[in-house]
Structures are given as structure tokens and as C-alpha cells.
């Protein structure tokens, strides 16, 4: 094998080159913007300017540096995202279970689950606020509503993918319905469930950023719009954009990691996902 071949066969290399390429394109664009625009940092700042902010010691607001501010508000947002995500996951799983138990329920509920995803959050927010009476609970509930769908559909797909033979087997043991759910359906659907989680985890974070803006008491969403309003350094905005993208990807990978931890044996589940709605 030639040296060239050896290097190009490294799996991380294409990724590295992609990242370098994107950085290059960004920097070229940023350079163009910086000479043509009066406030280039609002349009496309240089990457080093954005990441420079991480180490900046200058107080941006309330005596906090940009990094402190982002981390502070992130802790609020991520906490809500986590709770919303867990709520949504439980909700999605329970809904999938109900829809599996009753075909009638599936046919009745399913189209509306889809519809709920289409109702703009602004419409839901006041109603949920009046139900819960507390803005933070409302935020969590909305984040849950925005994230339960992938979990519900994927888990249901998992339930429905159980082979007929597995039922027959359990039936021949005269097993109860409860036993079949406990021993077959639920364990079988776990990988599908995790597929749902991998999709809904980043969604929970973007949803939680969205619901931050329901009221101005902190959180990444509030800081993002504040920064956009130039009430503070615009770099806070850019930092949040990068931070949320990073956390979103990380959350998805984290679910994959969790799956491996929960399912230590390598399950060769070829999930056919041609048609399950995500």
C-alpha cells in the first residue's frame, strides 16, 4: 500500500477535509462580507472572532462574559429540554403502547398526532399556560409536545415489526397479553425506540430554545433574540448558534451511546425504515 493510499484510507480524513473546506468557504465569505458590509459581524463574522469570544474576559451583560452568559442560559434551556425530552419520551412511548393495544385508538389518534405537530406553538402556548398556570411548566409541556412524535411513531413501528411467529410462540405457551407485552413487544421495540430518541433529542433542544422566547427570563432563546436586538454583543448570538448545533448533534450521538450501554449485546436489528413516518 502506498503512503498516499494509507493516508486516504483513514476514516477520519474525509471528515477533516470537509471541516477544513467548510471553514475555508466560511472565511472567504466572511472576508468578502467584511469589506462590503458596514456591520459584517451581523451578517457573517470570521470564525476566529466568534470563537475568540469564548476566551474573551470582557463582560457582555450583568457582569458576565459571553461564555458565562451562554453557559448560564444554556443550563436553563438544557434543563428544560431534558425534562421536556423525558416527558415527551414517556408520552410518546405511552401513546405508542395505547395505539398498539387498540387498533381503534391508533386509527383515531394517529392523524391527530400529526396535526398537533402542525399547530404553531404560538397558538398552543397561551392555552397550555392557562392549563398549567406556570410559564416554566408550560415550556416543558410544549417542548414535550414538540418532541414526542418521533418516539411515538418509531416505537409503534417497532411494535408492529414484531414477527407473527413471535406472537404464535407466546400464544402456544398460553401466555397472557401482559406477558407478551413485557417479554416480547417492549424489549423488541427498544432499538426502534432509540431511533426515535436519536431524532427527538436534538428536536427537544431546538424546541426548548424556541419556548425560551415565550417569556424573557433567560435561556438560550431569550439571549439569542436579545443579542439579535443588539442589546448586547452580537457574538453571543453566533456563539449560541454554534453551541446549539453542537449540543444538538451531541445529544443525538449521546442517545446512540446510551443505546449501546442499554443493549450491551450487539443486536443485529435491521430496522426497515422505508416507510415509518419520522
Amino acid at each position: 500500500m502506498s503512503i498516499r493510499k494509507k493516508i486516504t484510507s483513514k476514516p477520519w480524513l474525509p471528515m477533516l477535509i470537509w471541516i477544513i473546506g467548510i471553514i475555508l468557504v466560511w472565511e472567504i465569505a466572511a472576508t468578502i462580507v467584511s469589506v462590503t458590509k458596514r456591520t459584517p459581524e451581523n451578517v457573517l463574522p470570521h470564525l476566529y472572532q466568534i470563537f475568540g469570544q469564548i476566551f474573551s474576559t470582557k463582560a457582555v451583560s450583568s457582569g458576565k462574559t459571553a461564555t458565562m452568559l451562554v453557559l448560564d442560559s444554556a443550563s436553563k434551556t438544557l434543563f428544560r429540554a431534558a425534562i421536556g425530552f423525558i416527558t415527551g419520551t414517556v408520552l410518546g412511548f405511552v401513546l405508542a403502547l395505547i395505539m398498539k393495544i387498540s387498533k381503534l385508538a391508533e386509527k383515531t389518534i394517529f392523524p391527530y398526532l400529526m396535526l398537533i405537530q402542525m399547530v404553531p406553538i404560538l397558538g398552543m402556548a397561551p392555552i397550555i399556560l392557562s392549563i398549567t398556570g406556570d410559564i416554566n411548566t408550560s415550556r416543558i409541556v410544549i417542548a414535550a409536545i414538540l418532541t414526542f412524535y418521533p418516539v411515538a411513531t418509531n416505537t409503534l413501528a417497532g411494535f408492529n415489526a414484531v414477527e407473527r411467529e413471535k406472537y404464535d410462540l407466546m400464544y402456544s405457551y398460553a401466555a397472557s397479553k401482559y406477558t407478551i407485552y413485557k417479554k416480547v413487544l417492549i424489549p423488541y421495540s427498544i432499538p426502534y425506540f432509540f431511533t426515535g430518541l436519536k431524532i427527538s433529542a436534538p428536536m427537544a433542544i431546538t424546541a426548548s430554545i424556541l419556548v425560551d422566547t415565550l417569556q424573557g427570563d433567560g435561556g438560550l432563546g431569550s439571549m439569542l433574540s436579545q443579542s439579535l436586538k443588539h442589546a448586547m454583543s452580537i457574538y453571543v448570538f453566533w456563539l449560541i448558534v454554534f453551541f446549539s448545533a453542537f449540543i444538538g448533534i451531541f445529544s443525538s450521538y449521546f442517545m446512540g451511546f446510551l443505546e449501546k450501554a442499554v443493549l450491551p449485546h450487539k443486536r443485529k436489528t435491521k430496522i426497515k425504515r422505508k416507510d415509518d413516518a419520522v
Binding site: W18, L115, I180, G221, L228, F237, I249
Partner: protein
Amino acid sequence: MSRKLKRKKSLWYRIHQNEKVQSAETVLLPLLFGFLFMIMWQTQKLHTLLHTDTFTLPLPSRILTIIADNSDKIMLNVNATVIVTLAGLVAGSLIGYGIAVLAALFPKWGSCGLKIIAAFNAIPIVALAPVMTNWTKDVSNHADIRSMVAKIMVVTIVCIANMSINAYRGLTELKPFSEDLMCSYAASKRVTLIKLRLPNSVPYIFTALKVAVPSSVISALVSEYFAEYIVGVGRQIRENIVLAQYSSAWAYIVVACLIGIIMYAVLMIAQSFMLKKRA
């Protein structure tokens, strides 16, 4: 075919077995549910259930009255929203598909590229929309045009990742040996693409679109909040909510849902038409 765990052969069960009854159920049950829901809503049972009032959740009759009273204005806003949604959906899907094709032709680089594109999904729309408004400042002197472009760009970006990831799977998750088959014919990459990969990816395109339709509607609505030119269903929802005009806001919310439902229905019809002959 789904199988019952219980094997009671009651009349009820036998009726259920009938295929026509089954497909009728698929349509009728949700409709029935929707109808009951509307009755509960109109009679304010729903309000008691949700601990809310007719101010926060106006009655259907009032909402419909407002829709009827303002049909011209609503159509104007619907037009704007639908144009943005469709244009963004089409552009995003095409670009996404194009990326997927490139990735399928150069898998080593492509699969990495897709991972990076997937990262776009993790950027919140609330961050994307204002940036796009800034980026499109030079597009036109007319605020309505540059706003539209900005909004379309938001929807486009939201659709790209979804389509490219799904289409890539459609282009690469081939039946075992089908690539070998084309190879044995000494078929070129191009011919393999046209004869094998593209047709194979059709069901996956629909999977992508099924996700993309609702999310393109939502992102069109959100991008309207941030657009310079004031038009669109989303903008109207926000204006009315902020002004505490819940009845009017709900009129627009209903309209927004209708846009989504109609687009989804069209998609499902197209799908059943296109995939009629497939397994």
C-alpha cells in the same frame, strides 16, 4: 396484514376482518373523533376539561365567522405563505436530492458531507430566520421580494438535510446483489444511477417529504415573524396573539393547519399513485 392477539370470532371481529370496513374505518374514525372534538369544543366541554376559557380558546363558530368575514385578507396571507412553503420545499428537496446523488456517487466523501449537513437540523429556526434576513439584504430593492427570498431560504435549509439523508439511503440501500448485477453488465456509474439508484430512491423521497411537509409549513410560519415585509399567515398569528386577539389568531392557526393538511393529503395521494405497483 395485522393480526389480532385475541381470536374471538364475534360478529364484531368478523366485521373488522372485512377489508372495506377496515379502510372505511381508517377514514371514518378520525373524522368521527374530530366531529366529537368539535362538538366538545363548541359546547365548551373542552374548556372545562382544559381549564381554559373561550377567550384563550375561542369557539369554532366564532373562528369560522372571522375566517368568513376576512376571506380576502386571509387568502392574501395564505398565498404568501403557500408560495414560500412550496418554493422552499421544492428547492430544498431538489438541492437535498442533488447532494444525495453526489454523495452516492462519491460515497467516501459523501457520507461525511451528509453528517455535516445533518448538523443543520440542529440549528433552531429562530436563529436561522434573522440571519437569512440579513443575508438577503442585497437581493432586491423591494422589501417584499427580498423578504420572500429570505423566507424561502429558511424553508429550503430546513428541507435540505431531511431530504438528502433520506434520499442518500434510498440511493445506497439497494437490494443485495443489485449493484453487482449492474456491474456484471459493465454498466457505467451513470447508467447504474439512472436505472437502479434513482428508481430505488422513490419511496425514500416520499418518506422525506412526509417529514418535510409539516416542518416546511412551520418554518415558513416562523420565518414570517422575522421577515421585513409584513405578510403571511404566521405573521398574522403573531400579530394577533401579541395584540391578545385570540379569535383572529385562531382563525389563522386553523388556516395554517389546513395548509399543512392539504399539502399532506396531496402528498399521500401522489405517493399511492407513484408506489402503486411496488411491494
